[in-house]
């Protein structure tokens, strides 16, 4: 993970309360354009990820033509070709499938792991919380990219293990947020009321806790997908992620580094794809945060 997710905005100070309202208005003004751009980008890339494998046979993205290697964009190859003469348009389209699927499944996995951990920790408190929090804090002590690299090295690099590595590495971040939100929810009076009426813990969690913490989870998930795309690219770049010839954006950037000065499009095409997808998800995440959870700030 890059520093991006980890940078912590200053905690709200007393003085900032007034200003927040002002800022809110500015945010609202931006909301429409920003949200629109973000949403459009996310929809485009989601469609690309889903439709590309249906309409573009995989063979087109791996078809090698040494005579047409490093060709600039032409009528035959709309976005040019890579060092083996493979068509970059087809590769970037199918790469969307690989990269997005990895990112989405990995984040799904991190939710599957982090959500129960966080809820249990925040709901039961006491020893459960102490134990689980230790575990989460310990895992949080490892920079996510380091943890993902180590896990990928342990399991051996391939598509499935890349998902596992990113999913596991991201899980503690989610667990921490969920725990905080659960703590907030459980201190609300209606939980006490439900409890005094004899509702079981499971029922309280299902009926009251989960619905109330979903907003920050959705926000975090959206932003996490962006970071998962970057993480997949980083892992693939170091050779510990997706394996060739499967087209993935990270792998395409890695392959392009040797040809950047003679064939800059080989880097620009996947680079731009990563940038736009991440940008879209970040923008959407920001907007969702403002809409769904105005009080929620940062991942801390």
């Amino acid at each position: 993970m890059t520093t991006a997710q980890l940078v912590t905005p200053a905690a709200p100070s007393e003085a900032s309360r007034n200003a927040q309202r002002t800022r809110k208005r500015i945010a609202n003004a931006l909301l429409n354009t920003k949200g629109l751009i973000g949403l459009t980008l996310v929809i485009v890339f989601t469609l690309m990820a889903i439709l590309a494998p249906i309409f573009v046979p995989e063979a087109l993205s791996t078809k090698i033509d040494v005579t047409a290697r490093l060709s600039p964009p032409t009528a035959a190859h709309l976005l040019g070709t890579d060092q083996l003469g493979r068509d970059l348009l087809f590769r970037v389209l199918l790469g969307a499938h690989t990269s997005m699927i990895i990112a989405v499944v990995a984040v799904g996995l991190s939710i599957a792991l982090g959500l129960p951990l966080g809820v249990l920790s925040g709901y039961f408190k006491g020893w459960v919380d102490l134990g689980l929090s230790r575990l989460v804090d310990t895992l949080l002590s490892f920079p996510a990219i380091l943890l993902a690299l180590a896990i990928s090295a342990v399991l051996g690099p391939n598509l499935r293990n890349t998902v596992l590595a990113i999913g596991i590495a991201f899980a503690p971040y989610l667990a921490r947020i969920v725990r905080g939100e659960t703590l907030k929810v459980t201190s609300l009076p209606y939980i006490e009321a439900a409890r005094s009426q004899g509702a079981s813990d499971m029922r309280i969690i299902r009926k009251y806790v989960l619905p109330n913490i979903m907003a920050p989870v959705i926000v975090q998930a959206t932003i996490s997908i962006a970071f998962a795309i970057l993480a997949e690219a980083g892992l693939s770049f170091l050779g510990l992620g997706t394996q060739p010839p499967t087209p993935s954006w990270g792998l395409m950037i890695q392959a392009s580094r040797d040809y950047l000065d003679v064939a800059p499009w080989t880097a620009l095409v996947p680079g731009l794809a990563v940038a736009l997808a991440v940008l879209g998800l970040n923008m959407l995440g920001d907007v969702l945060r403002d809409v769904l959870d105005p009080t929620f700030n940062s991942d801390r």
Partner: protein
């Protein structure tokens, strides 16, 4: 056999004629002019040096540096004749059982001590001792006794004739002499008699060498060499272009042509540096079936592979022998791509389209192998095979393919060995040290063993040709290509024409100088 006879014979064995022009060919600037003394040369070295113990290290890249610190007892000239080095003369008895080396007097080690027969005995015994873990320990397998009648005479007694003995002393560090008792420290701080003294190494970053004033062939021109270890090819090239480096080896394959046309630099290219082959795990069905192996061989268009993976910087071959050596079997021709034949063979072996599934493991240590695997993958798919590629780091490849032999199909390259015993016995004999493919072919075993005890060079050469034919007919492995060696230097680097050693792998920096 007299020494002169031996030399004549061994020259016949290893081949006098240049079949394919093995020697370095210079680019834009032929070297002339007078050497100037002094200066520090910065070399952008393509690989990270490993264990610095010349006897133990197995990688060509580390040897490339260490050869400048050491000399061997004998060496080869450009026709692969065994010629004197630290031994000023050598004799072999008629029965091939006694080797007598007469050492050059007054050869100094970097420590200041003088080379004596005790150092030679120590070095030979050290390599022979399995505990040392020397790559070439088997060179001394038949050595019964090493005698040192005086300071400058070494007599080696063999228990049975070993035809390749002298040649193997000249190759790959087996005959390198280190000071008596210095073995334990060689790995950290190598000491020898060579033209350059080791100063320091910062692991993975740089190695510093300085001129050894008392070198027995006269001191080198350069004061100092700094070897910067830059494994990323484009970064190395950038280093040369920005002037950070004077010389780099292994120009990125796709930039060789561009750099050759650039008058700001000198480019040196030689053929070959290494050869590559596709490997099958013979213990795993169906790769123990020659029809399956041949079918796969038939799917590969080697010419396109050389263009695609090596950017044309190499040549196809069906024989792995050094192309200018006698053991190179020029009658073997590369199998052309023929999908019909491939499908027919597969069908015969019981595999219809899409029925044979396997994993092709390839190491990222050699980027051109990764490219080659992706190109071959397309052909394999076209030929009706269901193949996936798995990339492995160097350590994973070593552990999975080399040691555990846990793979279906893989590929590797070796630097070109002009000495056929080393090449064929260690790679294809069922007990060979490099037989990580589980090759177990009685015909090959018999031939490799017979060659070892056949003293007559012409006869021996014939045996090696037969052996190659067998490897080819059965497609025990698929030999793919010879890759060019390349290096590029600033125009002020002099003596480039003598830099590459006849073995095509080592670089002799003592011949270089820097014009001011």
């Amino acid at each position: 056999m007299k020494r002169r006879d031996f030399i004549r014979h061994s020259s016949a064995l290893t081949g006098g004629a240049l079949l394919l022009g093995a020697m370095p060919t210079l680019g834009a600037y032929a070297q002339s002019g007078t050497p100037t003394k002094g200066g520090t040369l910065i070399w952008g070295h393509s690989e990270t040096t490993q264990n610095l113990d010349m006897h133990q290290t197995g990688t060509a890249s580390t040897s490339r540096l260490l050869e400048n610190i050491h000399d061997a007892i004998v060496t080869v000239d450009s026709d692969f004749n065994i010629v004197p080095s630290l031994a000023e003369s050598f004799d072999v008895s008629e029965d091939g059982l006694t080797y007598t080396f007469r050492l050059r007097p007054n050869v100094k080690f970097h420590t200041g001590t003088t080379l004596s027969s005790a150092d030679v005995k120590y070095s030979f015994e050290r390599v022979k001792d399995p505990k040392t873990g020397a790559v070439n320990f088997e060179v001394f397998n038949d050595v019964a006794e090493i005698l040192t009648p005086d300071d400058l005479t070494v007599i080696v007694k063999m228990s049975q004739p070993n035809a390749p003995f002298l040649a193997r002393l000249a190759e790959n560090g087996a005959g390198v002499i280190i000071p008596d008792g210095s073995g334990d420290t060689q790995g950290e701080h190598p000491v020898g008699v060579g033209p350059f003294e080791f100063v320091s190494r910062e692991f993975g970053n740089e190695v510093e060498l300085v001129r050894f004033a008392d070198y027995w062939q006269g001191p080198a021109h350069l004061d100092k060499i700094i070897s910067r270890e830059v494994t990323e090819p484009t970064v190395r090239l950038t280093g040369l272009r920005t002037g950070e480096m004077h010389i780099i080896n292994d120009i990125p394959l796709d930039r060789v042509t561009e750099l050759e046309a650039d008058s700001n630099f000198q480019v040196s290219k030689w053929f070959p540096l290494s050869w590559a082959f596709l490997n099958f795990n013979h213990k795993r069905a169906p790769f123990n079936d020659a029809r399956v192996r041949l079918a796969i061989d038939h799917m590969i268009d080697k010419e396109v592979l050389v263009q695609g993976a090596l950017w044309g910087q190499g040549e196809v071959t069906a024989s792995p022998s050094f192309p200018s050596s006698a053991s190179f079997n020029k009658d073997l021709s590369v199998r052309p791509q023929n999908f019909d034949e491939a499908r027919r063979l597969l069908q015969e072996a019981g595999f219809g389209p899409g029925e044979l599934e396997f994993v092709f493991k390839v190491t990222t240590n050699y980027p051109w192998h990764v490219e080659a695997s992706q190109i071959m993958l397309e052909w394999f798919r076209e030929g009706g095979l269901n193949v996936s590629v798995q990339q492995l780091t160097w350590s994973d490849w070593l552990s999975q393919c080399w040691v555990d032999r846990d793979y279906d199909v893989t590929m590797m390259n070796f630097f070109t060995l002009w000495e056929p015993d080393f090449l064929y016995y260690s790679l294809w004999h069922s007990t060979g040290a490099f037989n990580y493919r589980n090759v177990n072919d009685p015909v090959v075993d018999e031939l490799a063993q017979r060659a070892r005890v056949t003293v007559d060079p012409a006869e021996r050469t014939k045996i090696y040709h037969e052996l190659q034919q067998r490897v080819y007919d059965e497609a025990l492995d698929v030999v793919l290509w010879f890759r060019n060696g390349t290096l590029a230097a600033q125009n002020n680097v002099g003596g480039l024409d003598k830099l590459v050693h006849p073995n095509g792998s080592n670089l002799e920096f003592r011949h270089l100088w820097l014009d001011t």
